[in-house]
């Protein structure tokens, strides 16, 4: 692969991350009343607060001392201590919440990508056909629904109404000790939120893939493929789909970056113990170090997946590769 291309993209990603760290610094240190937000902790004694202040160097000048210290601690992974979780390091609190979110949203993305791309490709290929009218209509409706708007009716019908699935959480406390039982328990809790997240994502994938296919259909090489007497299915699989997939790669990767930010509202609705629920808890407790840590994690993961998108695109598209 083209090394200069990789290096350029990597450098751009690093610059973006640096800009995010500086933005955080400005928001949390330089704005009026900002330093208080770090050290004003009702769970701490005045002495502990003073110690915290000194630890963060808040008694020193903003630039360069505080900025340098801020960048230094951020780079080494020291994001401070949580207020809500009584002095636990932010990294630990955040780390514990990442797993459930990745399980839920990651799985949802995987299903939505496969189903959404297939649905979009078929809709666009036979524009105005039955699949298109039903599929595109449904996609537009789900695309217009925030996750929690999909989730709340699901709870109403399948959890509190029919009682098929639990209404909230990821596990039933003290339900089962053996591993198989635990997996089944989690799976049962996963069904409804996973359905909601998948439906919410399918819309966007299918709509975009549809228009990518429609655009590709008009290309001259599709006429060539038709002139070759290939079957419709083969033209779609071998000529239209691979080309339409290229613009989708970037979109998919960027979307995957948001896996971490995930479906905050959906986690709230289902009390799913992930980052979303943690974010709202942090907001309600005005736990700024925790919010800051979450923001950093989410935006850095978005940047990294953007970078991944560039690499994958470079690997897939021969025009970029050479």
């Amino acid at each position: 692969m083209n090394v200069a291309y990789l290096v350029r993209k990597l450098a751009q990603a690093l610059v973006t991350i640096a800009a995010i760290v500086i933005l955080l610094f400005v928001l949390f240190r330089a704005m009026p009343g900002s330093p208080d937000r770090v050290s004003k902790n009702p769970n701490m004694t005045p002495a502990m607060q003073a110690a915290e202040r000194a630890r963060w160097g808040l008694d020193k000048p903003l630039v360069p001392d505080q900025l340098v210290a801020f960048i230094g601690s951020t780079v080494t992974g020291d994001l401070g201590t949580s207020i809500k979780f009584r002095g636990q390091p932010v990294t630990e609190v955040v780390g514990a919440a990442v797993g459930p979110t990745i399980l839920l949203v990651g799985l949802g993305e995987a299903i939505a990508i496969i189903v959404g791309l297939a649905l979009g490709a078929l809709s666009g290929w036979r524009r105005g056909g039955l699949v298109d009218r039903l599929g595109n209509g449904a996609s537009l409706v789900f695309y217009s629904m925030p996750y929690f708007v999909i989730g709340m009716p699901l709870i109403m019908v399948f959890a509190s109404g029919l009682g098929w699935f639990p209404t909230s959480g990821m596990t039933t406390p003290g339900a089962s000790a053996d591993p198989v039982g635990q997996v089944l328990d989690v799976a049962g809790h996963l069904v409804l939120p996973l359905t909601a997240v998948t439906l919410g994502l399918i819309g966007a994938y299918s709509i975009l893939m549809r228009s990518a296919i429609i655009e590709t259909r008009a290309e001259d090489y599709i006429t060539t493929a038709r002139a070759k007497g290939l079957t419709d299915a083969r033209i779609l699989r071998h000529h239209a789909f691979p080309n339409a997939l290229l613009p989708m790669v970037t979109f998919i990767a960027i979307n995957l970056g948001y896996v971490i930010a995930g479906a905050i509202t959906l986690e709230v609705v289902f009390s799913w113990p992930g980052l979303g629920t943690l974010t709202v808890a942090a907001l309600n407790a005005r736990d700024y170090p925790l919010l800051q840590g979450i923001f950093l994690l989410v935006s850095v993961s978005v940047v990294m997946f953007n970078l991944l998108a560039d690499f994958v695109y470079g690997a897939l598209d021969p025009r970029v590769r050479s």
């Binding site: 290309e219 090489y221 007497g229 021969p318 025009r319």
Partner: protein, 353 residues
């Protein structure tokens, strides 16, 4: 009870083929497009022509006159709302117009293949050139993958590209190389007819000459039958036996290149020829054709060229001119000529001036 019929180079002809019929015979072909507002536009109206085995015919005319539409309609490749609304397209005597998409697939590429303008867009950008050439051999002729790859390599050599370049992607080849690869692809199934749609237009002059030489050579060596669409009359003069001049979706004049180019009859052919510089006679003022082609959504009655024609007579605005065949093999659709002798009614010298 179909008997195997073999034609040129012992190829197996499709079922129902008549070996005595002309290779390609198009009669009264009409193509309509539906506009977004629901109106129907006749892009090609009542075209007839014939292409014999081993012959090369050029189709000339301004852009938008229906050259490409005619070519694409032969094997139902019209984009969007385009439909063949009347007429017949007979290949070995088999009419292709009433065939379903599935039945027609048999004829695409194996009998009629195409070389498109601007091979950059006509080749799949994310597939290796060799694979694109091998694809019809494998899929359409049912050969093994290895055999098709090997054949693709031979075809590349045939058009002057080293076979190692089979693994290149289209963007890695120069414009001329891409066009050669496109020609190799068109030859993959040894088709009865190759249609070239402005095959040299996007290329610079030197490369253009090379591609034309290649087509010439292939015609000689393989006995190709060629339908060459171009607005560049010099390309036709160099490579074709016969020329058909189209105007607004109809045939204006058709005949042997030697006749039509030296003694054009239709006023439009005269104008078209004089708008091209002639190297032998040196630079001269090019005569432009005043006005623009008619809007086919609301075609004028009578002869479509009449509004731009210096020789227009009252009858031209009323009656569509009939096609007149003359003894020297030239066909012309103009009221200036009468049946039988195809001699101009008034002073013929005036048109030639």
């Amino acid at each position: 009870m179909t008997t195997e019929v073999r034609g040129r180079l012992g190829r197996l002809l499709p079922d129902g083929a008549d070996p005595t019929a002309p290779l390609l015979e198009v009669r009264d072909l009409a193509v309509r497009f539906r506009t977004p507002s629901g109106a129907s536009v006749r892009a090609v109206g009542g075209m007839s022509f014939r292409l014999d085995a081993g012959e090369a015919m050029g189709i000339a005319g301004e852009s938008g006159c229906g050259k490409t539409t005619t070519a694409l309609s032969l094997v139902h490749l019209l984009p969007g709302t385009g439909r063949v609304s009347a007429g017949s397209v007979k290949l070995f005597g088999i009419d292709l117009v009433p065939l379903t998409e599935r039945q027609l697939a048999r004829y695409r590429w194996r009998e009629i293949s195409m070389v498109f303008q601007g091979a950059m867009n006509a080749l799949n950008p994310v597939q290796r050139v060799g694979d694109q050439i091998a694809e019809p051999i494998e899929v359409r002729l049912g050969q093994s993958r290895d055999a098709s790859r090997k054949r693709a390599g031979e075809l590349l050599e045939l058009v002057g590209i080293p076979r190692q370049r089979a693994s290149a992607y289209p963007h890695e080849l120069s414009g001329g190389m891409r066009q050669r690869a496109m020609i190799a692809m068109a030859l993959a199934c040894d088709p009865a007819v190759v249609i070239g749609d402005e095959p040299t237009t996007a290329l610079d002059v030197m490369v253009q000459a090379q591609i034309l030489q290649l087509l010439e050579r292939l015609r000689r060596e393989l006995g190709l039958s060629l339908l060459l669409i171009t607005h560049d009359l010099s390309v036709i003069a160099e490579t074709c036996d016969r020329v058909m001049v189209m105007y607004a979706g109809r045939v204006a004049e058709e005949g042997p290149v030697s006749r039509v180019f030296t003694a054009p009859r239709h006023p439009y052919t005269v104008k078209l020829l004089s708008s091209f510089p002639d190297i032998r006679t040196g630079r001269r003022a090019l005569s432009m054709i005043p006005g623009s082609p008619p809007d086919l959504r609301t075609p004028p009655p009578g002869c479509l060229f009449a509004p731009r024609c210096e020789h227009a007579m009252p009858v031209c605005a009323v009656e569509t001119p009939p096609e007149i065949n003359s003894d020297d093999g030239v066909r012309v659709a103009c009221h200036l000529f009468t049946a039988g002798d195809a001699v101009r009614r008034d002073a013929a010298s005036e048109v030639k001036a």
